[in-house]
């Protein structure tokens, strides 16, 4: 099908196709191959997303179909203290989770990069939790957080004479207690990405810096961190979206009272799930989904803008 094929034109196929330039043909071919995945993507991703916008303006019976009620769901949401509590929780997950997880994973990656002894094994051990399902992990952490006599952390605390902590059974500790396993679970992935980023920095930069007499701290600040910027942006955006959409860890950590005591750990996604599938309020759940979507979009755009390369 190449344009340079001498026979094509010679045998007289003076159709539209042959009159197109090579660049246009490449583009058309590319789109022909892309058409199926694009169509598939539009149908399974974009259509439900836009449908959610429409559903958020409706109320009604699941089977008889939605009826239009305008912005009533949004007004209800605005007046709902539970929604605002959950909205706040979601931001706390983001504000605690993202920076803490990035700092820890960078520190580990930075030092792990220099370890030669059993490097592969240590790296694999860090990555292991990432392979575990969140539900299984949640149950293990839930066990760790139990009060005495079965909780390991509290048993340790009381054995050294400290007071036992309520962790998940407290309105002020529960959110932090739920964030820690989520941070821990994502570390493996972030460490691997950071290490790939560190390895991608040419060693000649470091050599030159050392010849110029720069200290370790200066090298980190002037070479490593700036050159890691694309990696950092990628991880910040990905980890923020992850924390804003947190659900499975929280659900399995607090399955007896999903969302923690008095909504202390309830994230937005869980509220959406409960609204939709426990109370069957599809319209209201869609309105909450739209808000989550807009928040995710806004935060991702904001981060990309803040961390953009200034040229």
């Amino acid at each position: 099908m190449s344009v340079t094929d001498p026979n094509g034109a010679a045998e007289g196929r003076p159709g539209l196709w042959n009159r197109l330039g090579i660049r246009t043909k490449h583009v058309l071919w590319a789109w022909a191959f892309l058409a199926i995945p694009v169509l598939f993507y539009v149908v399974i991703r974009f259509y439900p997303t836009f449908d959610a916008f429409w559903l958020s303006l409706t109320d009604g019976n699941i089977r008889r179909g939605p009826s239009f009620i305008g912005l009533e769901n949004y007004a209800r949401m605005y007046a709902d203290p539970v929604f605002w509590k959950v909205f706040g929780n979601t931001f706390l997950y983001l504000l605690i989770g993202t920076p803490v997880s990035l700092v820890i994973s960078f520190t580990i990656a930075y030092y792990l990069d220099r370890v030669r002894f059993m490097h592969g094994l240590i790296r694999a051990l860090y990555f292991l939790p990432y392979l575990t399902t969140a539900a299984a992990m949640g149950w293990v952490w839930r066990f760790l957080y139990q009060p005495v006599p079965i909780g390991m952390i509290n048993s340790f605390l009381t054995s050294i004479g400290l007071e036992q902590q309520p962790f998940l059974r407290s309105t002020d500790q529960a959110l932090m207690a739920a964030t820690i396993p989520a941070i821990w679970a994502g570390l493996g992935f972030q460490i691997i990405i950071f290490m790939a980023g560190l390895r991608a920095i040419p060693s000649s930069f470091y050599e030159a810096a050392r010849i110029d007499g720069l200290g370790e701290w200066a090298i980190l600040r002037k070479i490593t961190l700036p050159l890691l910027k694309p990696t950092t942006i990628f991880l910040v955006v990905l980890s923020s979206i992850g924390f804003l959409r947190i659900f499975d860890q929280v659900q399995s950590l607090t399955a007896n009272d999903p969302g923690g005591p008095l909504n202390a750990t309830k994230p937005l996604v869980m509220l959406i799930y409960q609204t939709a599938f426990s109370s069957f309020r599809m319209g209201y759940a869609s309105a909450q989904t739209v808000i989550l979507f807009l928040v995710l979009l806004l935060i991702s755009l904001l981060q990309l803008w803040l961390l953009r390369d200034k040229k």
Partner: protein, 417 residues
């Protein structure tokens, strides 16, 4: 199931038999849906075998889903036109299910209301809306006090005289609670868990025993009365003043009891299967009475109904199967396999059952049990759980916490009524 029928017709045509004659004689397949709980699944399998033997032209396909997923599956299946023909549901979901058009009313010609009301325990009336019945139970549940005889002996209590009054309950629970030097519970006398069965115990037994009613005759919240508040204070003081147990101890009340670290726990008939393997001697007794000797109990059940879209010969088959599921025979199987009490009075209140040391207390409880009319069962349960947490975790007074709960619950009721 429609595809199945179509396939059987095509197969019949291919073999040269006339279409019409086969259509009439072809087997009907119906689907029965319930959630996964080992003993319930085993019981239904046994019932289906019996039913199919008696009705060779009907095949019942048994479909199960995990409990957490179950209502969602029913909604999704029905929306997709692939819903159940006969479906099991908790009585508290009925209003939600009717509002979503998931069920059809039972045909009064097949299931006459007068007969239902005469044969079943009165709590079956919770299945009736505007004169139509939407489901019938096989079994009913009630609550009782489970006690660990080994622990009672170990703490110097008489394992043959478990508490009969609320005061005795506190005294015996206090005598069998252990705390370490720092005040942490290492074993408890009574499980305190609003998220378990305690919210039922509080609503239908304690509030009444303190002289109140949980809801008035219109179904509005009435437990915010002084009597209701006294009952709630009594309940929260189990932890805050009497120190006989702590919420969240061993994660769940039933886990604490199973582990042999709780002397008493209030739970339902459905727990009998789970407690059967307990590595200690245990017994069951009626929920404790108040000082005046009044008792209270809560009863609930799973009912079976017919899917909204079922028509024609499938409807007939579904009605036959539903009738069998609520027959005396099915109830006897259910009691043996699942351990839940028969929903028909005559089957339940047999001499043998009443004398049974395990079933007896539950059955006697049924006589004075109340059934809460739930508008949104999980939402209303959550409100009581939150009320208890406000006292236990935030230090609010029981009276204030109950006022907040009353307002929130009334809002749910108003919203869904």
């Amino acid at each position: 199931m429609k595809t199945m029928r179509k396939l059987s017709k095509i197969a019949a045509l291919a073999s040269g038999v006339s279409f019409l004659s086969v259509g009439a004689a072809s087997a009907v397949e119906i689907e029965y849906w319930q959630y996964v709980f080992d003993t319930r699944v085993a019981a239904v399998d046994q019932l289906i075998t019996n039913f199919q033997a008696a009705n060779p032209d009907i095949t019942v396909k048994h479909v199960t889903f995990p409990y957490a997923d179950y209502p969602t599956r029913v909604v999704a299946g029905t929306m997709a036109g692939q819903g159940p023909d006969v479906v099991q549901f908790f009585y508290g979901w009925l209003d939600n299910f009717i509002a979503q058009d998931l069920l059809q009313p039972l045909d009064p010609a097949v299931f006459p209301a007068a007969e239902i009301e005469a044969d079943f325990f009165p709590i079956v009336s919770a299945m009736s809306r505007d004169g139509s019945y939407y489901g019938l139970p096989t079994a009913v549940r009630s609550l009782a006090l489970f006690y660990n005889k080994d622990r009672m002996t170990a703490f110097g209590l008489d394992p043959n005289s478990p508490p009969t009054t609320l005061d005795e309950l506190i005294a015996q629970a206090a005598a069998s609670t252990e705390r370490d030097g720092a005040g942490n519970y290492t074993s408890i006398g009574l499980t305190v868990e609003m998220g378990g069965q305690d919210h039922h115990w509080w609503r239908e037994a304690l509030v009444r025993q303190f002289g109140g009613v949980p809801y008035d005759e219109n179904g509005d919240v009435a437990y915010t009365s002084d009597e209701g508040k006294a009952a709630f204070r009594w309940y929260t003081e189990l932890n805050t003043a009497q120190h006989v147990g702590a919420p969240g101890f061993m994660d769940e009340g039933q886990a604490a009891f199973r582990a042999g670290l709780a002397t008493f726990t209030i739970d339902g008939t459905f727990r009998l299967g789970g407690f059967a393997a307990n590595p200690f001697e245990w017994g069951v007794t009626e929920l404790p009475a108040n000082a005046a000797g009044e008792r209270g109990n809560y009863s609930s059940y799973f009912a079976n109904g017919i899917g909204a879209d079922v028509t024609g010969e499938e409807l007939e088959a579904a009605q036959k199967f539903l009738a069998y599921l609520s027959s005396e025979e099915a109830m006897t199987v259910w009691l043996d396999v699942v351990g839940e009490l028969p929903a028909r009075r005559t089957t339940a209140l047999s001499e043998e059952n009443l004398a049974n040391p395990i079933y007896g207390p539950f059955l006697r409880g049924l006589e004075y049990a109340h059934t809460t009319r739930f508008y949104d069962e999980s939402g209303q349960r959550q409100i009581m759980l939150d009320a208890a947490n406000r006292v236990f975790l935030e230090g609010l007074s029981p009276e204030e916490a109950l006022d907040i709960a009353g307002q929130a619950e009334q809002a749910i009721i108003n919203d869904l009524r």
